[in-house]
Amino acid sequence: MNVKEIIARRVAKELNDGDIVNLGIGLPTLVANYVPKNINVYFQSENGFINLGPKPNDDEIDLDLTNAGGQPVTILPGGAFFDSSISFSIIRGGHVDLTVLGSLEVDEKGNIANWIIPGKMVPGMGGAMDLLVGAKKVIVAMSHTNKGKPKILKECTLPLTAKGEVDMIFTEMGVIEVTKEGLKLVEINPMYTIEEVQNATDAALIIPENLKLMEV
């Protein structure tokens, strides 16, 4: 199992029956592959529909039906299309229970930076700022480091996407909760020691007595 799979599998366990969920592009998209069989969750695609389904077979592609990345997808039974004003009313009005986003940096205040590297990469924020502010729960799903360099920081160095909106961070090393006291490691991947996780993290981690093992 690779890093992305470990993370996506673990994040999927956070889903509750009936949840309305928005998954960011990249790693977060994989979460849809691991939804527990006994629950129904509804994926929203911010370009305008609910009940996002898997990719179509080549002979079933409908060019009018794409996800927020512009890729052909399907709509599951019971779905509905709407315009962008409704789509973002869903997002900003607090109707999304959970959003899962990738990130470049997250810090101990729950700040997140994932939309721009000045002078280098300027993709734009798309719907990320809206999702971060509007979703009831914000999960960051990402590799713990970038080529060995910590991505979980005391303070973000890149321009923020949102201030204090991140609730939890899931990486291949463990699960971290953003609390008022700081970042709390609540689960650890048994392949790593606490010391290794802390060394890969710029911010100080709070280690609770009941630190659990991350199911991988």
Binding site: N47, L65, V122, G124, G127, T161
Partner: protein
């Protein structure tokens, strides 16, 4: 009121310096034929309002790559590398706006509202130089309404009155842009006699012209 025009007449309406709203999301729901026509006119110094910068060969990306865009107001330009290059070289001014804010700004323009009060963008670069308003002790950014000289929309079906129906995810920004622009040009693959009044997504009163390749 005859709303039908052909692409040549559409081209004659295009002018240097115009502001144009273009419906579509990653070019899905974009009236490509009207973008091509705009490219052919070679009009310059356009202000383009669109969810994204399209691709180099798709959507508003074609206008950007043809150096016709002076200002781009958009939520995302990542899939069109030329757009990022032109931005960093100072050849195109880009205002990056959160997608939800962008659609609300367009809606506010069409609906006669004074602006949008949103928490999106607070504490980020987006809030720079913007007015803030406190409502019940909570802070909001004031984002101003957007309007345009022209909107280019794509209907999956358009009827002879100008009513529009959008299929699947082609709807996106189209209906709100149709309400926020001075002149609205609808292109469609399928012209029908009449769309049932329960299924109209953009009422005919917002559509000034129905454009087809030829008549």
């Amino acid at each position: 009121m005859n709303k039908f025009i052909d692409v040549e007449l559409f081209k004659s309406h295009c002018r240097d310096g115009m502001s144009i709203m273009v419906g579509g999301f990653m070019a899905v729901g974009t009236a490509e034929i009207l973008i091509d026509a705009l490219v052919e006119t070679n009009v310059k110094d356009l202000t383009i309002i669109c969810n994204d910068a399209g691709f180099e060969d798709k959507g508003v990306g074609k206008l950007i790559c043809n150096n016709q865009v002076k200002v781009l107001i958009s939520s995302h330009i990542g899939l069109n590398p030329i757009a990022g290059k032109m931005m960093s070289e100072g050849k195109m001014e880009v205002t990056l706006t959160p997608q939800g804010t962008l659609i609300e700004q367009i809606r506010a323009g069409g609906a006669g509202l004074g602006g949008v009060l949103t928490r999106t963008g607070l504490g980020t670069m987006v809030e720079e130089n913007k007015q803030k308003v406190i409502v019940d002790e909570k802070e909001y950014l004031l984002e101003k309404p957007l309007k345009a000289d022209m909107a280019i929309i794509r209907g999956s079906r358009v009827d002879k009155y100008g009513n529009v129906f959008y299929n699947a995810t082609t709807q996106n920004f189209n209906p709100m842009m149709a309400m926020a622009a001075n002149k609205v040009y609808a292109w469609t693959e399928e012209l029908v006699e009449e769309i049932h009044p329960n299924h109209v997504m953009t009422p005919h009163i917002f559509v000034n012209y129905i454009v087809r390749e030829s008549w």
